[in-house]
Symmetry: C2
Subunit: 161 residues, 2 copies
DNA sequence: ATCCATGATGAATATTTATTCAAATTGGAC
DNA sequence: GTCCAATTTGAATAAATATTCATCATGGAT
């Protein structure tokens, strides 16, 4: 698998699970995971993943996803809701300007709702059945941009362009 | 009125209405509005206001509020929904660990919903009637923190500690 | 009014982060 | 396979941002 893609996944995971306040800190974590790269690469990765340095309630900076609630609660820090989504989705395919995301039965509504709130910059709207979500990207949003943002929400998303 | 408070309001307004990609750019805008200050001050202001430098869809950086959708649509760029909230709210008061936000009749539900989504880091939950919202801050969140975050959502909020 | 504590600020600086530029790698098309 | 264009990357550097430290202002308390 693509090394960059792996690194991106590792970055998302690290950002989610740690309280990271600088790229250097993040770099150290990833290096312990066996990744090797320069700070420049990390800066670019963070930009692509739309990760943000957020001033948290305690007066510290913390890297996080845009719009993500990051009060570190013990409740959901181990049970990672994105991991659930990961198991719950199966594939993403495109047709014309539209995309179809398949999910496990019963999951479509919930995941569509997550997408509505977390990817509203790229996705104009969603229509969910039981195991299928129709995604309507905004004008000018590329397939790649759709994939990128969904990968932010759903770890290990499988897709076909 | 407090010069810092005025500047904060001007910053929020500028961030909302312009596509600002650096503190220097923001500083220039504010200076045209008659404010004078050093970059250090702006950095601190931005931290206090929890404004974030966000990598947008076009591959640029843009200063924005955490979690705010900033696809610049002509639809709502002039009709500013926070301005509506500003006219729609009247006062914020505290009692014990709780806060009461008064609104114009009929607005409580809508505003409470905005607060739920935009201030969930500080506010555990809200209960809205017709013109009154009960805010339940999370443990350890100070009154000042509550005021700060609500000021981010509601311009010109009036309050009593 | 005077004192004290707290907050606000700027200049300089440290730190952090983004970009440039050149090199290396990758992924087709043939 | 070779070639070419795209993408990825690192080292160095530029640019941007945060903090330090000293100073000044502000707002009580007495």
């Amino acid at each position: 698998m693509d090394i960059k893609k792996e690194r991106h996944i590792a970055i998302r995971r690290a950002v989610k699970n740690h309280s990271i306040s600088s790229q250097e800190e993040l770099k150290n974590i990833l290096e312990k995971d066996g990744f090797t790269f320069a700070q420049a690469t990390l800066s670019r990765d963070i930009k692509e993943l739309k990760i943000v340095k957020y001033p948290d309630v305690n007066g510290d900076y913390i890297y996080t996803f845009h719009g993500e609630n990051n009060y570190s609660s013990e409740l959901n820090s181990s049970a990672d809701e994105n991991e659930i989504s990961s198991r719950a989705t199966s594939s993403l395919e495109f047709s014309g300007g539209l995309a179809i995301l398949k999910t496990r039965p019963g999951y479509a509504m919930g995941i569509a709702s997550d997408i509505d709130s977390l990817a509203s910059e790229e996705i104009l709207g969603t229509i969910a059945g039981d195991d299928t979500i129709l995604l309507i990207p905004r004008e000018g949003i590329s397939r790649k941009a759709v994939i990128d943002v969904l990968q932010n929400i759903i770890l290990n998303l499988k897709y076909e362009i």
